[in-house]
Symmetry: C3
Subunit: 273 residues, 3 copies
Amino acid sequence: MFKECIENVRKNVPLVHNITNYVTVNDVANVLLACGGSPIMSDDIDDVEDITSICGGLNINIGTLNKNTIPSMFAAGKKANELGHVTLLDPVGAGASKLRTETANKLIDEVKFDVIRGNISEIKTLMLGSGSTKGVDADVADKVTEDNIDETIAKLKAFSKATGSIIAVTGAIDLVCDSDKCYVIRNGRPEMSAITGTGCQLSGMMTAFVVANKNNKLEAAAAAVCAMGLAGEIGYERMAEGDGNSTYRNRIIDAIYNMDGEVLEKGAKYEIR
Amino acid sequence: MFKECIENVRKNVPLVHNITNYVTVNDVANVLLACGGSPIMSDDIDDVEDITSICGGLNINIGTLNKNTIPSMFAAGKKANELGHVTLLDPVGAGASKLRTETANKLIDEVKFDVIRGNISEIKTLMLGSGSTKGVDADVADKVTEDNIDETIAKLKAFSKATGSIIAVTGAIDLVCDSDKCYVIRNGRPEMSAITGTGCQLSGMMTAFVVANKNNKLEAAAAAVCAMGLAGEIGYERMAEGDGNSTYRNRIIDAIYNMDGEVLEKGAKYEIR
Amino acid sequence: MFKECIENVRKNVPLVHNITNYVTVNDVANVLLACGGSPIMSDDIDDVEDITSICGGLNINIGTLNKNTIPSMFAAGKKANELGHVTLLDPVGAGASKLRTETANKLIDEVKFDVIRGNISEIKTLMLGSGSTKGVDADVADKVTEDNIDETIAKLKAFSKATGSIIAVTGAIDLVCDSDKCYVIRNGRPEMSAITGTGCQLSGMMTAFVVANKNNKLEAAAAAVCAMGLAGEIGYERMAEGDGNSTYRNRIIDAIYNMDGEVLEKGAKYEIR
């Protein structure tokens, strides 16, 4: 089934509107192209509604939110809802500042998101009003482990039910849930956390996957997570002596570019709970 | 003659002021350095006139235009005109939104551009008030083919005459025209479209080429197009099993870095119509 | 001693808040991760005080300053001072425009910086109210040479005394001074100047080094300069036929990622004056 998910992306070439941070935006654009999608970036209030209208999906990432782009996020989100487009929220740094937490919460209140994707600290912040986000990385205290996984999944399912959004939590173990089904994914490598923006890249790519598989959104979101993790594994195998995180970044995007349905289907490591 | 064009860039180290989008800006800076130029980015209304004054050329790219940077584009453009500096417009996404189309048209009305460089859908939008821009990529319906090339060239020459600008349309076949002469260029590889920002990179590099060859602007613009396409060919030859669009991006910029006049002269594939 | 400096970065994982330009921001984030730090970017006035509060250091880079981010620089700088956090200023393009020169001078007046790091033209502008900054690169006329080095060091020490900041000037010869001691550093390669943002990367990394070595700030700043230059040397050795500035960028960040204390200690080339 994951095979069809990625094949649909390559077949349909979904246009994705990204309102995203300027740190990782180039990698987000390249990974969207690598997976078969087509990226557009636009964040001015006078531009976003037109741009989102010609796209199939909207990826909102609050990584470098500011007073000009925040209203654009709401305007684009509402327009995308109106048009029935796919919407995804990446609440980067929710919990790390009042502005980020409040903006993410308000976006969830006013825009219907198909997917909310973040690290466990960001998602805990949104679920519980607490969580100990340490900057843009998840805090160790929040980490998903074999010990707390069942409890975490139950909470994520409840949050999915409350919001109507698929909840995707990425980390050493990835969890992609709707209100009654959770993909527990074990692809990826710890070295991926030494690259800036693998989460942002995943959010962009996941939007394309969901747009191209609108009748199968949960599986598409899970397939995107597996694809990213698997790309991290494939990319790592190609690393040579002396290579580091900058080359690894290129290798991962390259692996997405070369990934076909068979490779994804075979390499995906997940169970459903 | 293309040989001298690139050699003049390396000899003169033209300083290029870029008001450009934040998606591809890093690659624009690196390709400008690779070809022998020197990049500066500045987009605040209180900064752009000073910065453009110390440069030889101004590259305006509307890829992530916003209410703060739009007035800066006009101010810098007018200052550059006043000083007789080279000016280039890259109307990214013209046709995709009202703001983009109107801003591009207004820039052309109020600023004299030496070159307007875009894909065929963007240029058609500016020429005809129509064109079917699909996001930031050209629409298939607008594609330059062997069947419509003569008609397209005639229109581009007329648009060049109307604007006083060199018109550079890039795609599978590239066309670089003034009012009576058109370079038809067949360098490049289709895989280049899987990299974000090869067009933006070309606009930056083309500005440097034109600044360093002010008495020979049309040829300089055509030389830049050939250099970019040829770099795409050279870079592609260096791709290994498992490499993808991210590595390809690096290989292309690397190929520009290593390209000398002889290589460009010999590798350029063009005819004049 | 440099050995301990880099080991402390890897051990303490300093969180660094960056208000930096959008040209080189991705490389700054990746080099911070490569050296063992953790980057956060935030530049909205309503966000910066919260973000800087959870960090250990603040890196302010005026490379693409604008009317929204300038007030954020002051607010974050003052907050960081209040909390006793490490602060660094990278006055990109000071001397190239009135806005850049005035903003840098005003920041130095109102914020106490632990380190000011720039090229010689930028630092001369700040020291003397003059200097001939040519865009974002140092002017040849300002270059530190064996002939003017003693005189330059004397001036930098005086500037350090006046500001209370460590002054780091990078170029072919790097100088890292406080009011009575100067590290004269001869690591690096001339080819590094063909990559955009090696200076910005160094500023980010230096902030992490100083945060992780608060009792040893001058040495930490010098160690960061040696690490960057040495990475340029190591990265250059790994360059293959046909590689250019884009690959070199990756190789340098990779070299930081793989650099351990022994390698830095052994490879650092400096004398103290």
